[in-house]
Structures are given as structure tokens and as C-alpha cells.
Symmetry: C2
Subunit: 189 residues, 2 copies
């Protein structure tokens, strides 16, 4: 009682939010949604379980917020559509490098938890389609085929190969393969 | 003991194979892999559990054989690449109409059971890529972008939208959307 607890204790919840969401994001890539334990999140974020549960009632709520915050990879934008799209594709492929282990967890989470499904949709519809779609439209030009289809195709190929095939998806090779498809569409202009 | 059991009994195992595999195929579309019960397969195929277990030791073995036999939808081939591809895409989209319920079961089964994963890969690599890839190559022409990428994109878009989005995939609209992409690639020749 002689010194203020606020000064000596752990940082308050708000300060740990970023560390907690980053920990969840890393664990989703490493072990998959269904194998994340709240204690592992707490350990990695250097916080206590109580701090986490004060802000998020359930694991689902925590994962949903992580997906909203870390929806698209954070890549440096250089202002060239091809380069920026390439960097984004490489980063997304790297996030899915865990293959079927990680993808099965994500697909099941979206099926079983409306909260996570809503966050996934927000991430894809409000973030991925506009951002990635903007780069694609720059490359293939206006009046090209549906940009939504191409965005969904990029995500879908990674999902499909990661979930079902044993061929490891090599991020740089995938990005080049996808850009070649866009070049084919651009050439007709 | 007065009459031959062979004449009065159920048809022998071999005769029920087609009915059993068809029943599994239908149930995979309707309830998803993980919710299939062997008793439901037996009931639908009009056979007994013993008949099924005499031939397939496990549910995994039965599902794997079903995937090999019913890998690609059985659609009428008219000899025109666009028409044949369109029919195939519509049929595949219909098979995945169960959305995330069915897809999550399939993805999880491929992760957890090497036998089912091998059958899925055989189906995709040995059947889908050559057959669908042949149609695509006919449409976009030789020297187009990787045909494997386009095959995987068709499957991937269905997987992605079915697993994550609530937008129901309308089979005919999806087929038209995908063919428009191929037309964009063909136009550059």
C-alpha cells in the first residue's frame, strides 16, 4: 500500500491489446485456430489470462478481432500496381504456409462460429477485394473480367493447394504465376 | 436349410458396390464427410452394415474409394470446349452447394486422413487438371498462362466462396463468370 499499484503493476489492458492481437495472429499461422490456447496467447503476449478475459469474453471474440485488425498483411506500398500486388500475394501465401493444418482450422472456425465468419467476410469483402482488386484493375485495365473473381481466385488457389495438395506453395513462384495470368489479360487491351 | 441362401439372400457384395458408393457420394454432398454414419450409407444403399464392412474396413477407406470413382461429375460431353467446360463447372458448383458445412468436412478429412488426402489428390491431379485443363487450353490457346493455375482457380473460387462467404454460389452465374475470364485470355491471341 505504500506505492501506487498503477505504477508498479503490469501495463493496463489497453496497452497490451496490440501484443495480444499479434500473439493470436502468430499462433493462427503456426498452429491453426482450433489449437490456440488462451494460456499460450497470454504467455506470448507477456500478460495474464485475466487481462485477456477482461477485454474478450471468449476465444472466438479474440480471434474475430485479430482477423479484423490483421486482415491483410502489412506490406510496404511503393505505388506500382505490379510490385505492390506481388508483395501482397507473397505475404498472403506466406501466411498460409501452414497448409492444411492451419486452413482446416480456419474453415472449421468460420463454419462453427458466426462471429469469426463475420470477421472473415469483413476482411475479404471490405479489405481484400477493394485493395487487391484495385491493383488487379490497374494491371488488367477497366472493362476486364470481374475483378472480384480474380481476387477470389488468388485466395482460392492458395486455399485449394494448401488444403488439398502436398505441393508446397512457394510464395514467390505463386505470385509470378498469378501475375502472368494478369499479363495475359492485360495484353488484350 | 431347404432352399439355397444365395438365391434368396441379398445380392452379393460386388453387386452393391455401385449403390454403396453412390450413397456415400450423395451423403458427402448433403451432410458432409464428418457427419456420415455407416448405418445411413447402408440404409440408403439398401444393404447391410456387414456387406459394407466386408469390403471396406473403415469409413475413411469407403470415402476414399468414393472420391476416386466419383471424382469428377459425370456430365454429357458434346465435343465443344466451351459447352463442355461450362457443364462441368456448373456440375462442380452444384456439388459444392452445401457450402461451409460440406467444405469444412472435406478439408478436415483431407488433413486428418492420409488415405482421403491421397484420393483427393488423385482426383484433382489425375482427373480434374487433365480434363478441365484440356477444355481451358482449347479456349485460351496454347502458350496461354498456366492451365494448372486456371483449373486450381476454378476449384479454388468455389472453395473460397463456399467456405467463407455467405453469397450463395449460383452455379450458372459462376460458370459464366469463369468463362468470361477465359474469353479475356483468348482475345489476346
Amino acid at each position: 500500500m505504500t506505492s501506487g499499484t498503477a505504477a508498479r503493476g503490469r501495463p493496463r489492458s489497453a496497452d497490451r491489446t496490440e501484443a495480444i492481437l499479434t500473439a493470436v495472429h502468430e499462433l493462427m499461422r503456426e498452429v491453426g485456430y482450433d489449437r490456440i490456447r488462451m494460456q499460450d496467447v497470454a504467455d506470448r503476449a507477456g500478460t495474464g489470462l485475466a487481462t485477456i478475459y477482461r477485454r474478450w469474453d471468449t476465444k472466438e471474440a479474440l480471434v474475430a478481432e485479430t482477423m479484423r485488425v490483421h486482415g491483410l498483411p502489412d506490406v510496404e506500398v511503393v505505388g506500382d500496381a505490379r510490385a505492390d500486388l506481388r508483395a501482397m500475394l507473397v505475404a498472403i501465401a506466406e501466411e498460409m504456409a501452414g497448409g492444411s493444418e492451419v486452413i482446416a482450422g480456419l474453415v472449421t472456425a468460420c463454419r462453427d462460429h458466426p462471429e469469426i465468419r463475420a470477421a472473415m467476410q469483413e476482411c475479404m469483402i471490405d479489405q481484400a477485394r477493394p485493395v487487391i482488386g484495385h491493383y488487379i484493375a490497374e494491371i488488367v485495365g477497366e472493362g476486364g473480367p470481374g475483378v472480384d473473381l480474380l481476387v477470389d481466385a488468388a485466395a482460392g488457389v492458395l486455399l485449394f493447394r494448401g488444403a488439398f495438395l502436398d505441393e508446397a506453395v512457394e510464395p514467390a513462384a505463386f505470385a509470378d504465376e498469378f501475375l502472368a495470368l494478369l499479363d495475359g489479360l492485360a495484353a488484350r487491351r
